[in-house]
């Protein structure tokens, strides 16, 4: 399994896609940083006269937006680099030379998952810290305690791992194209579900409950959105006491319950178990 993990990491690094991702990420951060510098150091009279609390609110939204789109980039990176993790080898025939060897099929699938998880987590961590770093560098007034940042980082990295477990499990069962369609559509459903759930807080009647239920159901299908909102809350709420900073289009008014995180742990384990079981029984 370790050999598969090692060579999965090597493959990602050696392929030109990795270099392209690095260059485009620098481009993304540059544009984001440029936006922050304009927003934070604006000499406009109206903004200068705005109370600090409003400035903090604006800056927290810029921080959340940076993290939201970073999360989005990571999700698409996962889809583009991992949909063929297993199915690509099956379709090309490369799998024949691997699985006649004394290598258990579940070791192969888990080796791929762990290798991709490491790469994605490293990338996700770097992107998260870069966004936070840019905000601090440009003098954000939002309080970012070290504990908040690390807790938020955990949740920021957890989301991609959850999506990756779905992609790898699907890639072990279905074709590359079908896995890609499933991953993109499921991610989209989770995203819209999360937005609808947050919109529910604007209503007080049955509409609110209905929208909230939509969010819960989509979180059960793919809990990436709910994890992101938890990350945002961890980053912006806990120590400041200003819980409304975590609200807005990229944040969340309602927080996932502890049961949801038990479900998330189960979700990852179940998908990997199901994917490997199906792959073990599959004719190649």
């Amino acid at each position: 399994m370790l050999t598969i993990t090692k060579y999965t990491i090597k493959e990602m690094i050696k392929k030109r896609a990795f270099l392209l991702i690095a260059i485009l990420t620098v481009g993304y951060l540059f544009i984001y940083g440029y936006g922050l510098s304009l927003a934070f150091h604006n000499n406009n009279q109206v903004i200068n006269n705005t109370p600090n609390i409003a400035k903090i609110l604006l800056e927290s939204q810029l921080l959340s937006a940076g993290l939201y789109f970073s999360n989005f980039i990571i999700a698409f990176l996962i889809v583009l680099t991992s949909v063929g993790a297993v199915s690509g080898d099956v379709e090309s025939g490369a799998i024949y030379a691997l699985l006649y060897k004394p290598l258990k099929r579940h070791e192969y699938v888990l080796g791929k998952f762990i290798g991709l998880s490491i790469i994605i987590t490293v990338y996700s961590t770097l992107l998260f810290l870069s966004v936070i770093g840019l905000n601090i560098a440009f003098g954000t007034k939002v309080y970012l305690g070290l504990g908040n940042v690390f807790r938020a980082l955990f949740f920021f990295d957890l989301g991609p791992v959850v999506l990756l477990s779905l992609v790898v499990a699907s890639s072990s069962i279905m074709s590359t194209v079908n896995t890609g369609v499933l991953a993109v559509m499921t991610y989209g459903i989770a995203m819209i579900g999360g937005i609808l759930e947050q919109m529910g807080s604007f209503f007080t009647d049955a509409t609110s409950q209905g929208l909230s239920n939509v969010g819960i159901i989509t979180s059960l299908i793919l809990p990436t959105d709910v994890i992101f909102r938890k990350m945002n809350a961890e980053l912006l709420t806990q120590n400041t006491g200003l819980s409304f900073l975590a609200q807005g289009p990229f944040g969340g008014t309602s927080q996932p319950s502890p049961a949801m995180f038990v479900y998330i742990a189960f979700y990852i384990c179940f998908l990997l178990y199901y994917g490997t079981r199906k792959f073990e029984k599959r004719d190649l």
Binding site: K6, Y7, E11, G93, A94, Y96, A97, Y100, K101, D283
Partner: protein, 301 residues
Amino acid sequence: MILETQNLTKQFNGKGGFKDVNISIDSGMVFGFLGPNGAGKSTFVKTMVGLLYPTSGFAWINGFPIGTIESKRKIGFLPENFKYYDWMTGKELMKFHAELYKIKNSDKKIEKFLDLVKLKGHENKKVKNYSKGMQQRIGLAIALLNDPEVIFLDEPTSALDPVGRIDVREIIKRLKDDGKTVFLNSHLLSEIEMICDEVAIINHGHVIAEGKLKNLLSKNTYVEMVISDYNSELIEKISKLAYDVAFKDGKLTFKVKDKDSIPEIAKIVVDSGAKLYQLDSKTSSLEDLFINIVGKDEDVC
């Protein structure tokens, strides 16, 4: 027996694949598996190496049921539709496969096999820059990396030029000399004829002939006689010992299943009072045998 199957069957929704295959192969043997396209040859090999699960029946390699880690430890396999991670160099690819076998200090072994398949000097090139023939060569080197007892080669020369084919033949002979068992799937009948000890012919998923190549070929000895002053009684007597008896262009032609019956037939001709001017016998080639057996099977189907 190093390889044995009992009613081994693999079908896809009741179709295709192969059915009730019973094969026993001694160690140190080069076994040829022949059949037309779609006969079930590659499906059989993929089942033996654990890539496909049998529908029914049993099979063992080295005493271990197929598909188990124990049976996989001592096999090598060169797939027909070979494809390797082409972002690696040849040497990295070998190293990767050596690590999958947990071979320690594999460098010397890698050098040895790169040399054997004549890829020395190309080991630092990326596999994607290899020709098809070179990829097949490195596939063969990978198949031998773990010092296997049984090596399954599925069309091992399909991408090779004539020189490459001779090289592979030499490697197979060397493996046999080292006591290894080679299971060879090939369309190239002349190749099989040159190196195989035993063969099985498969058609429509059924083994329709199996045995030592020498015996199978001698079963189809073609005889031509130039005789005169013969009578119908003589033809009747010959027909009892031979088949496909015909009189064409002044020549009596027939086939015998056993070469030893040729002198017996010659004696009958002479004793009958007929004059025997010429006798030629020709053992059929594997191609003749293949066409004959598969052709008859097609007629039955």
